[in-house]
């Protein structure tokens, strides 16, 4: 007699009480009480059967729903339920076959066990990859939005300091630019272009904790994956903070099984590259004397020239430096509890003395299933980072130290670094005839030597959650997360100089800030399958709070400047100053989303979030954000079954709204008075108060409406995958601090909603992986994105000037019809070749002569002035791309990573100083040797003359350059050690590698590094991007490393 085997899935027994409870949360008006079962009878030969239960998950522990369980060579027993669980009855010696689309089929011998948990490995192509999206997860194949995924394997062994750098060149439409090459300096991430004149930083969610900068508190080695939610349907669930895109970071978790120990380490040497060829002393003296004769100044005599040194200042300040990284992780667990403990140490010295970055991280993650419906877990990341900084960029205008590199470029080669006594030379040689005209500026080596600016950051980032699964398909999770950041800065301004006195009196300045961000996020998800209908529902609430406290102290008058005396106590008490303030901010939200699919073919999703913020006027604190998306998996249609080369074909479309509430300050709705104005009545310091910020009760969040259409197509069993997306993002009610007439005084500019910006672009992501034979495997991933940015409206049409390139002179203009921060300059038409040309050309001012720069009379009024400025390009690349290629042969593997941008402009401000020739600064070799020297000699470089410098260095296209570049960011050659020898040592695998970062850069840009963003004197403003004041260059790094698993 044949026995009947039964199985069941997902039989829901919902009591009335339970139903009413989650009705509160889920608004499940039509709660599905239907049993979700489809009993399929089958037969087996008679044998004593045992009940076997278990759970099927993927490598990340995510349940696989609907995986098929069958007997080897026999029948299908059933499929797993929404929790990945199954319950069957089989003979105790049976062999089970577990299969699931996109996963490698697995055979498991029951061997008398009653509980079998199965982990399926995904096939190549990754469409079953789990993608963490808004408060939940989805399979890549079910996505309806535009989501880019970067996995840990993409970043393995890259010698980079921060998590944010990982994203560079790895995802289409995600532009990552470092401010400068200085260790620990800021990184700018722009997702789908620049949407606003304000803060364009994305929202980061690190293991569920929303944070604006937590991403840098974790080590790159702790990253499991980074998902970038680019379109509105993916990001809208994050509401008011999602307009610039959402970056979801998932860290590594422990997995059940044997304890795994991983060790990795690398060390490398960084060196300067792509240096500017500056004039040597002979060239400088020659150029000086030509200019002197042009200007009627005394020349440098050959006797004097012979006494001058020949210093290469760039080489004097940029020295090779070491970078080292080591990490260790131990992870493991059983079916119920998994843990991981990881530690990482990263140390990078800078190319310039006294600049460095060190970070130490410890991370633990614990997940435990206490019972079949109760789960708890915690993530905790402790980090310590120290950044020691020298002036990296800019001219010191905003208070940050002026760039060391800038002064290295300024300094004439005739000035030695040290004098005979070994002291830093301060003033260039003084000559009775030439006076102080033999050089200028500050000794950059002395400036770097004196710099002692240290920022210490201590942070705790993590969360703890409980998750309850009261009934099949329902998960209720409460997650308390937080990010505590203690940031201290200690800067000693040492008095130095032998002829002049810098930082006099000396001073010590310290600041401390305590930032506590915490969130309490409660979600309920309900997944159910009704025949061919699969529904996933989510509802939740979130409370976000930020408390920020800051203190500062300083003293001056240190008798002993030794570091061991650089404490406040050692300064003069009469000089002490201190300050402090506190700020709070809160965001309270409710949200819900629904995903629906029919027959695995038709996908739909919708989301809504309502945010309330303390930053808006009490009368209008709430704003809602909605989105919707549709998807069609054409490959699942009958008619596609025979189209064999195509393994995946999916169309996606979405639309939604997103907000941006960053950077309007905590109280933009009201005018505020604060202190800080001092006047010495009667000889004593007396404080005053005045309006420092002007309020606007009508200010609201800016919002963007984003449309996205996408296509995913895969060929040859998904060995070749291509994703394409087109988006149109319209930012409206753009927040801006309305530029007021300067006669308004310094009361601050009120925030207003005034302006629209449109971004549109095409994004392509391509991957190809193929195992050619037993020895050879190749893989290529590539991405490419275009962006087109345009301001479509501004308050009263008022263009916004930005990007200071000289005192009171702004190099960019943000105006309707042009990209944000477009360069707005005169146009160099050439060089005046003869006097006739000077007379017939538009008037440029007194004293113009042949050899001077000729500017275009754009408005044709016969005079060259401000009215002849025009839009001449912008710093936003029109095309960004990245390409990673892997080849492995037997135990060898080779990785190449290219990254580049195209179509952007850089204003080479430093060239106005080193090619502008208006002050006795050093000059580039090309201007020293290729300058105009008579009719027809040059139409590019003017004659050498200091007096004509005022005309010749006018902000113009003369200094505007193509900023496109292609960098070989990384090349890495690895070798896996053979197994046999290692096994005896208990080592499962070892890979050693050599790696080179920034091996070459292809660019027409003549400055030190085309990869740069804001200079420090311009702050982090989007209207000042792409102005090069002489920045700290990025290094070329050669390193060796090892990865080992035990």
């Amino acid at each position: 007699m044949k026995k009947r085997y039964s199985y069941f899935i997902s039989y829901l027994k919902i009591t009335g009480r339970k139903l009413s409870l989650f009705a509160i949360l889920l608004i499940l008006a039509t709660a599905q009480q239907l049993p979700v079962s489809a009993k399929t009878p089958f037969n087996q030969q008679a044998k004593p059967d045992i009940p076997v239960n278990g759970k099927i998950t993927d490598a990340a522990g995510i349940p696989l729903i609907g995986a098929s369980i069958g007997l080897k060579g026999g029948i299908t027993l059933g499929i797993s339920d929404v929790n990945g669980q199954f319950a069957i009855k089989v003979p105790d010696n049976a062999t089970l076959i577990i299969s699931y689309i996109g996963y490698q089929t697995q055979e498991i011998a029951v061997a008398g066990r009653a509980l079998i948990n199965i982990v399926l490995k995904s096939k190549e192509g990754n469409l079953n990859e789990i993608v963490v999206v808004g408060y939940t997860t989805q399979r890549k194949k079910d996505l309806t939005g535009a989501v880019s995924v970067v996995n840990s394997r993409d970043i393995n062994g890259l010698p980079i300091g921060g998590v944010d750098q990982i994203l560079q060149g790895k995802a289409a439409g995600v532009t990552v630019t470092q401010n400068t090459g200085a260790p620990g300096d800021g990184i700018n991430i722009r997702i789908r272009g620049v949407g606003t004149i304000n803060n364009n930083d994305p929202l980061y969610i690190v293991d569920g904790v929303p944070t604006t900068d937590g991403i840098n508190q974790i080590s790159p080695s702790d990253i499991e994956s980074i998902n970038i939610l680019k379109d509105a349907s993916s990001a809208a669930i994050y509401g008011a903070r999602a307009s610039n895109g959402v970056v979801i970071v998932t860290t590594r978790k422990g997995s059940s099984g044997k304890t795994k120990i991983s060790v990795s380490a690398y060390t490398g040497v960084q060196s300067a590259q792509h240096l500017i060829n500056m004039a040597d002393n002979a060239q400088y003296v020659n150029a000086y004397n030509i200019a002197a004769s042009n200007d009627g100044r005394p020349k440098i005599s050959s006797t004097l020239a012979a006494t001058l040194s020949n210093t290469n200042w760039l080489k004097a300040v940029l020295k090779p430096a070491q970078v080292t990284n080591a990490s260790l992780s131990i992870g493991g667990g059983n079916e119920n509890s998994q843990y991981i403990v990881a530690a990482n140490f990263f140390s990078q010295n800078g190319l310039i003395k006294n600049s460095s970055f060190n970070r130490f991280n410890i991370r633990t993650s614990l997940n435990s299933t206490l019972s079949s419906y109760f789960k708890i877990g915690t993530n905790l990341n402790l980090s310590y980072a120290k950044t020691r900084a020298v002036g990296t960029s800019g001219d010191g205008f905003s208070g940050a130290a002026a760039s060391v590199v800038r002064y290295a470029l300024f300094r004439t080669p005739g000035t030695p670094v040290y004098n005979a006594k070994g002291q830093f030379v301060d003033l260039p040689t003084q000559d009775p005839l030439l006076g102080n005209f033999l050089g200028d500026g500050i000794n950059p080596a002395a400036e770097a030597d004196a710099a002692n600016n240290n920022t210490y950051r201590y942070s705790v980032l993590g969360d703890a959650y409980i998750e309850i699964d009261p009934i099949k398909g329902l998960k209720i999770k409460s997650d308390l997360g937080g990010n505590l950041i203690l940031a201290n800065n200690k800067t000693f301004f040492k008095t130095y100089g032998i002829d002049r006195f810098f930082n006099s009196p000396n001073s010590l300045s310290q600041t401390q800030s305590t930032e506590l961000n915490y969130n309490w996020t409660n979600t309920a998800t309900y997944d159910l399958t009704l025949g061919k209908h699969v529904i996933n529902l989510l509802a939740g609430t979130e409370l976000i709070k930020q408390n920020l406290q800051a203190q500062s102290e300083s003293r001056t008058g240190y008798v002993n400047q030794n570091p061991s005396f650089q404490y406040l106590d050692n300064g003069t008490s009469a000089s002490q100053q201190n300050g402090g303030n506190e700020n709070h901010f809160a965001l309270s939200s409710v949200f819900a989303s629904a995903h629906y699919q029919y027959a695995g073919k038709y996908l739909a999703s919708a989301s809504y979030r309502r945010d309330g913020s303390s930053q808006l006027d009490p009368s209008a604190r709430y704003q809602g954000f909605a989105s919707g998306a549709l998807g069609w998996r054409i490959d699942q249609e009958e008619f596609m079954k025979n189209v064999t080369p195509i393994s995946t074909l999916k169309l996606r479309a979405s639309v939604g709204q997103l907000g941006n509430e960053q950077s309007i300050g905590n109280y933009p709705y009201v005018s505020l008075l604060s202190g800080g104005f001092y006047y010495p009545f009667g000889g004593g310091s007396t404080q005053g108060y005045s309006i420092t910020s002007k309020g606007n009760p009508n200010v609201r969040w800016e919002s963007s409406t984003q449309q996205d259409a996408g296509l995913d197509i895969g060929f040859f069993q998904n060995a070749l995958l291509l994703s394409a997306d087109y988006y149109l993002k319209k930012t409206s009610r753009m927040l801006l601090f309305l530029p007021l007439p300067s006669s308004a005084g310094n009361g601050g500019n009120p925030a207003v909603n005034a302006g629209n910006v449109t971004n549109s672009g095409l994004e392509l992501e391509l991957s190809y992986r193929k195992k050619l034979n037993d020895d050879w495997t190749i893989g290529i991933t590539a991405n490419l994105a275009t962006v087109s940015n345009k301001v479509t409206a501004l308050a009263a049409g008022t263009p916004i000037a930005g990007g200071r390139i000289d005192n009171n002179y702004n190099g960019t203009l943000t105006a309707v019809g042009h990209p944000i921060g477009s360069f707005y300059l005169l146009q160099q038409e050439g060089i005046f070749q003869n006097t006739q040309q000077v007379f017939t050309h538009a008037y440029q001012g007194p004293g113009i002569r042949p050899g001077d720069v000729m500017y275009k009379d754009v408005n044709g009024d016969g005079v060259i002035d401000d009215k002849d400025r025009t839009f001449v390009g912008n710093p936003i690349p029109t095309l960004t791309y990245g390409l990673t290629a892997n080849v492995s042969y037997k135990n060898f593997d080779l990785n190449l990573f290219f990254q580049g941008v195209n179509g952007n402009k850089i204003y080479n401000q430093i060239n106005t100083d080193i090619e502008g020739f208006y002050r006795p600064f050093n000059i580039t070799e090309r201007i020293a040797t290729q300058s105009w020297s008579g009719p027809g000699s040059s139409n590019k470089f003017p004659l050498l003359s200091w007096t004509d410098g005022n005309n010749n260095k006018l902000p113009s296209t003369r200094f505007l350059e193509n900023g496109s570049y292609l960098k070989l960011k990384n090349v890495q050659l690895g070798y896996k050690l053979g197994n046999s020898a290692l096994k005896t040592l208990g080592i499962s695998n070892v890979r050693v590698y050599i790696s080179a970062q920034n091996l070459f850069t292809i660019t027409k840009y003549t400055g030190l590094d085309p990869e740069q963003y804001n200079n420090s004197n311009n702050g982090n403003t989007v209207t000042a991007v792409g102005i090069d004041w002489g920045t700290y260059p990025s290094a070329r790094t050669l390193s060796v490393g090892i990865n080992a698993n035990f």
Partner: protein
């Protein structure tokens, strides 16, 4: 589990309170002017823009003297080249000195308007006495800022309250309207401000300061009778006199003296820093100065000499450093200056301010000295037809100058006035006396940042002659500095 489900529901309904985050450490504008202390805090802030804690921000010295025939920029060639542009009249609207003075002095106006707005209504809680005094100070300061602004830029926007972005779009008004407002403010201020300030109030505006600035305003408006009578009213207060030794006006030890009608205050070694930065800007580079602001030969030649043709007006060596004369406690080095001269009125000996804290000087800036008031009176009387009457205040100024020889022990031959030095003027021909008064004014107030404005006030003929060494100067186009670009780009009602 029940708790877990219910809590979020409570939270969502309770979140309204969470969203009420109070403003910390700052006042909302609606609840600031509620007591005497706050009213005083607001007026204190309005004084801050007066100070010369940064020579580049308060660039009135660039406009007042570098544009004139009294001083050149100095320092190295490319350093602050915009200041050189002012000197040479190749001035763009983006010129940093032109921008700086505009922004700083209008910021002063704004801070005054915060006070007049705040106290303009009921301002319950502020006592009548404090309210009157604080309003008077605000009116005086606003007049002082506008007086400098219209002197430098001519037609300018007039803001008299804290304006909305729409209201800030405003036309530049003719100078007469600006002066009318200045007169109004000063008249109101003079009516309420006290005669003197003592103790911790020294430095605040007084009745005399308001009247003196009013006299100067009338002088600029060529309202001669009012200028003379108002200057006499200052004299009539009976509290001002000329110091026996001229140079005591420019010494830290003798600040806020009986000659000081309105002084801009600076004090060394305060925290935060409230010192006189011009001490560094104008000192020679080897003394850790920046080497700016070098007096011209033309200025030096303006000073009279005694009958011997050599012994100079003592004010010369009080005003400039030159070869053969010590520069306070340092020896003068000719390499310091391409003109051969350095300025002295804004610098201090190293014994007072050491090299290490050069920028933290302890001098006040003499915005209005009593000798200025006397010269206003002299000029107004002469221009008004009373040349004989003009001689009285004029000769008071000359007498004090020459009598430094009686009191200043540091002068060679102290005790005896060199024969023929600065004799009393007796000429009563209006034209001749006009020239004499102008020359006297140039010597007496040399390097006090007034010269360019005087030159322009004297008219085209005088200015063209005085600035003949500046080929780009054109009286019609250069009598006022251009309204800066930052204003042009944001104020569309400015007009041309």
């Amino acid at each position: 589990m029940l708790l877990l489900l219910v809590l979020p529901a409570i939270l969502t309904t309770g979140c309204k309170k969470i969203l009420d985050q109070p403003v910390l450490g700052q006042y909302e504008s609606g609840n600031f002017f509620t007591n005497d202390a706050n009213a005083t805090l607001a007026i204190n802030a309005a004084y801050a823009p007066l100070a010369f804690t940064d020579g580049a921000s308060n660039a009135i010295w660039v406009l007042g003297d570098l544009a004139s025939d009294d001083a050149i920029k100095g320092s190295s060639d490319g350093d602050q080249s915009d200041f050189l542009s002012v000197q040479n009249f190749t001035i763009n609207p983006t010129n940093s000195a032109v921008e700086a003075v505009w922004k700083l002095y209008y910021d002063g106006v704004f801070k005054c308007n915060v006070v007049t707005d705040g106290l303009g209504g009921t301002a319950a809680g502020v006592s009548a006495g404090v309210k009157a005094d604080v309003l008077g100070q605000a009116e005086f300061l606003r007049a002082y800022y506008y007086f400098n602004l219209t002197g430098a830029y001519g037609k300018i926007p007039l803001h008299l309250k804290v304006e909305t972005p729409q209201e800030l779009q405003s036309a530049a008004l003719p100078q007469a309207q600006i002066y009318a407002q200045i007169e109004k403010d000063l008249t109101a201020a003079a009516a309420v401000l006290p005669m003197t300030r003592t103790g911790a109030d020294v430095g605040r505006a007084t009745k005399g300061a308001a009247l003196a600035l009013l006299a100067k305003t009338y002088l600029y408006e060529q309202k001669w009778a009012l200028a003379a009578s108002t200057a006499q009213a200052v004299e009539g207060l009976g509290i001002y006199s000329l110091l026996p030794i001229y140079s005591d006006n420019f010494r830290a030890a003798t600040k806020n003296n009986v000659e000081a009608v309105f002084n801009i205050q600076h004090t060394s070694a305060l925290v935060p820093y409230q010192g006189y930065s011009l001490n560094a800007w104008f000192s020679p580079r080897p003394l850790n100065g920046y080497g700016f602001y070098l007096p011209t030969q033309s200025l030096v030649s303006n000073f009279e000499t005694a009958s011997d043709g050599v012994t100079p007006d003592p004010r010369l060596d009080y005003t400039v450093g030159r070869a053969g004369h010590p520069y306070y406690d340092s020896a003068f080095d000719p390499a310091w200056s391409v003109t051969g001269y350095v300025s002295k009125k804004h610098s201090q000996p190293l014994s007072e301010v050491p090299i290490s804290t050069k920028g933290d000087g302890n001098l006040n800036y003499q915005a209005i000295r009593f000798s200025d008031v006397l010269l206003i009176e002299a000029e107004a009387l002469n221009e008004g037809g009373n040349s004989a009457g003009a001689l009285v205040p004029l000769n008071r100024v000359r007498k004090r100058a020459r009598e430094s020889y009686l009191y200043d022990a540091s002068l060679p031959g102290v005790g005896t006035i060199p024969p023929g030095l600065l004799p009393d003027i007796t000429v009563t021909d209006q034209t001749l006396l006009r020239a004499t008064i102008r020359r006297e004014r140039r010597s007496e107030l040399a390097l006090e940042f007034h010269r360019f404005f005087d030159i322009i006030r004297y008219g085209s003929a005088y200015a063209t002659s005085a600035l003949s060494s500046k080929p780009n100067f054109n009286y019609a186009t250069n009598q006022f500095f251009p309204i800066p670009e930052s204003e042009r780009q944001t104020n569309f009602k400015l007009g041309e």
